[in-house]
Amino acid sequence: MTRKQKRLAIIGGGMSFILAAALLVMFAFGQSIAYFYMPADLAKTSVPPETRIRLGGLVEKGSVARGEGSTVSFAVTDNENTVKVTYTGILPDLFREGQGVVTEGKFIAGSDVFVADSVLAKHDENYMPKEVADRLKEQGVWEGQEQTQ
């Protein structure tokens, strides 16, 4: 191999690695991105079952009910629409009725109950997950004060 061919081989090898990585990133995005919805969005558009999404809103007051073992059901609302959620596991410390929450999971075919496999409620007592706060402000149902911390 001449020096030129060698250099071409190295550059070609590097480029194909970068290309492979780019394809991998694209593939992974297709597989694992979860779109964020509020209950009001779900009233307008329907999400196909078994698609991973994030559902955010406020935990409806009086909706939290404990079932068998560690299964909990509650409702997420944005004061326009409400979606029932079930979750098996331990709820975060800051999960409370009337507080903001983001859940991740999917709808099971033939049911309108959202099955969450993760529930996030954040560190601070007046913390509202950013996505939820933004949307609540847009819809004019924002009640909390601005985050000062």
Binding site: S32, G69, S70, D124
Partner: protein, 662 residues
């Protein structure tokens, strides 16, 4: 009164920094010695002023002086002493002040110990960080200021975030800061050298200690952060691909790449342009990290400073520094001639492969972190990119790197012998595979792929050992000779072997814990038992307790194995009274490198409580490996070849003698 003195000191520091950032460079350009000398005294003065300001703030925190807004917001008179102390940097303003303190401290070190650097270089190297030292006090003074007072002074503070009240935070934030500032220091060497238009092997030797130190501290910071999240959040996870974690992980990846490309540059004078670019990129990623953490643009567990004005300010600093550095780079890059040629299969080739994989994987992490932000600002759609994305992309990209690592040190410079390296490594590879199979058999379970993962980790460990083995010529030489050769190896060879070994241990821990971990979520009433990892946990009941600033419900578990009691553990839910904020304090029991992790959930109506029990086999290997990597970093750092200006120190007396003789 004293707080105002601190404020005043910070204003003076700003003024000093402005002078320091301009005059020495002017002096270096004009060849004006007194102006260049200003860099040394200015750096020391700057350090003194910032240290004073920091001491004043610390004093206010320790004395719980609630007339100071910063203290009131972040402290409480009942908080234990150590957390009053860490409260100084447990908040946004204080942490910026700490950043600044570390920055000027390093400058002062260079000013004192860098006497043997060439004058112009020293002037520039001290002046460049002064730009940063100008930006940060301005930032601290203009946006909410830690020295502002409250009138009237409230009697009591609202308590710092309970998550920050444990062993981690006192040392956790300073460590990545040390890393970030180290990369700033390296950048200042790069820029100073670029200004002079001289990028050579000497440059690589000067920046290497800083690169190493930055990398070592960042490794420590990331490992600490990960362990903190693991035991404090009570979720049992040790890495969440949270934006803030990524923010410190990206400079680490890029810094690791830089560490390796700088070797090529030092030894072979090749890859110059790339190395400088990488230095700029690593620094940019550190600043980006600060921006992401401080601006609150991304939802994160760390988002404790969500003030848009701060975000914009940091973004401005970011654009100014990165833009300026890249512009200088573009201006000077054509003048850098590249050095030695090398074959694809060679030490250089292996290091280029390392750089390629590390930078590409840094890019994937960056894309995954920023894509939601980008998409939201472009289309308004909100998405989340979760761990599956990172595991798939980053995880797959790392595999070739892990397999290639043991080959690197065994290849010769310029033209390596892959077959020879293979022959030297087949024992290590075979042994790794065998041990992995034994592991898999003992733990009986998990996907077969786990064997390959374990083998990859073990291959790294054994590969590092065989590198030292062959270098010393054990088995070929007489025992005494081999021993002398082993002891005589440069410290950096041991550093390399240790760092690679540490990586292997971490990989081993990650694979083992993801494969063999078990998790049980059970509802327990007093007297009930649960099984995990071969241990039996008996729940004895709940008890209430009161701490200095919290109340807690503690559950007691007796742990036994084969009928014999081996340990007991408390797991609790705390309520921090001042903020009405609950936290989970997981009960963690360590058996060798494995852990039993017990976390309490909600009490049930019928008197039971939901308990989550994890068996985490070999999990301590993850952080143990990081410790070994750090140790490797320190060993490498102690190599005398890397001391600042070490060769010229010896040269000086000769020169002095010549001058005296004239």
């Amino acid at each position: 009164m004293s707080v105002e003195l601190g404020h005043y000191a910070l204003v003076l520091a700003l003024a000093t920094a402005i002078v320091l950032s301009i005059l020495p460079i002017w002096g270096a350009w004009r060849g004006d010695r007194p102006l260049m000398e200003l860099a040394t005294s200015g750096s020391l003065a700057l350090f003194g002023l910032v240290a004073f300001a920091f001491a004043v703030l610390t004093q206010a925190h320790l004395a719980s002086d609630f007339s100071v807004k910063n203290v009131w917001e972040n402290s409480h008179s009942l908080v234990p002493f150590i957390f009053k102390f860490s409260g100084v940097w447990g908040n946004h303003e204080g942490s910026m002040l700490l950043w600044l303190l570390i920055l000027v401290f390093f400058s002062a070190l260079v000013a004192i110990f860098g006497r043997n650097l060439p004058d112009t270089l020293r002037a520039n190297v001290l002046a460049v960080p002064a730009w940063g030292a100008t930006a940060f006090p301005l930032f601290i003074l203009v946006t909410p200021n830690p020295f502002s007072r409250l009138n009237p002074a409230p009697p009591e503070g609202p308590d710092p975030n309970p998550g920050a009240q444990d062993g981690g935070p006192p040392i956790h934030p300073p460590l990545p800061f040390l890393g970030y500032v180290g990369s700033f220091r390296r950048l200042s060497f790069s820029l100073a050298r670029l200004m002079e238009g001289r990028i050579d092997a000497a440059w690589a030797r000067w920046v290497r200690p800083w690169t190493l130190a930055a990398w070592t501290f960042l490794t420590a910071g990331i490992a600490m952060g990960s362990y903190w999240a693991y035991y404090e959040l009570g979720w049992g996870g040790w890495w969440f691909w949270d934006p803030v974690e990524n923010a410190s992980f990206m400079p680490w990846l890029a810094g690791t790449a830089l560490l390796h490309s700088a070797i090529v540059m030092e030894k072979r004078e090749a890859l110059k342009i790339w190395t400088i670019l990488l230095a700029i990129l690593t620094f940019s990623l550190s600043l980006l990290g600060t921006f992401l953490v401080r601006s609150g643009v991304l939802t994160s567990v760390h988002a404790f400073a969500t003030d848009p004005s701060r975000g914009i300010f940091i973004l401005c600093i970011l654009v100014l520094f990165i833009g300026g550095a890249l512009a200088l780079f573009a201006f000077r890059a054509p003048q850098l001639n590249s050095g030695g040629l090398f074959a694809p299969i060679s030490r250089e080739g292996a290091l280029v492969l390392n750089n390629l994989i590390l930078t590409v994987s840094t890019a994937t992490v960056l894309i995954g972190t920023l894509y939601p932000l980008l998409l939201e600002s472009l289309t308004g759609e909100k998405i989340s990119v979760g761990p599956p994305f990172f595991n798939m992309t980053f995880g797959l990209l790392m595999i070739p790197l892990l397999l290639a690592v043991p080959f690197g040190p065994l290849l010769a410079w310029k033209r390596g012998d892959l077959l020879g390296a293979l022959q030297r490594l087949y024992v290590a590879a075979g042994l790794a595979f065998f041990v992995a199979l034994v592991f898999y058999y003992i733990e009986n379970g998990g996907p077969v792929m786990a064997v390959l993962g374990l083998a990859a980790g073990l291959f790294l460990v054994f590969g590092a050992v065989s590198d030292l083995w062959f270098r010393a010529g054990i088995g070929k030489q007489a025992m005494g000779v081999a021993w002398r050769r082993l002891v005589g190896l440069p410290r950096s060879a041991f550093g390399t072997a240790l760092a690679h070994m540490g990586l292997g241990i971490t990989v081993l821990g990650i694979v083992a814990v993801t494969t063999f971990e078990t998790e049980h979520v059970v509802e327990m009433k007093p007297g009930m038992t649960a099984e995990a990892g071969g241990y039996t946990l008996a729940f004895d009941g709940m008890r209430s307790a009161v701490g200095p600033n919290y109340t807690e419900d503690r559950g007691h578990f007796t742990v036994s194995r084969g009928g014999a009691t081996v340990a007991d553990v408390w797991s609790s839910k705390r309520l921090y009274t001042a903020r009405r904020m609950p936290t989970t304090e997981a009960g963690i029991l360590t058996f060798g490198t494995s852990q039993l992790y017990v976390s309490l959930g909600d009490p049930m109506a019928d008197g039971g409580i939901v308990v989550r029990i994890w068996w985490k086999p070999y999990i301590l290997c993850i952080w143990g490996g990081a410790l070994v990597m750090m140790f490797g970093g320190f060993v490498s750092l102690s190599d005398r070849r890397l001391r600042v200006g070490a060769p010229s120190r010896r040269a000086k007396p000769v020169k002095a003698a010549l001058e005296a003789g004239e």
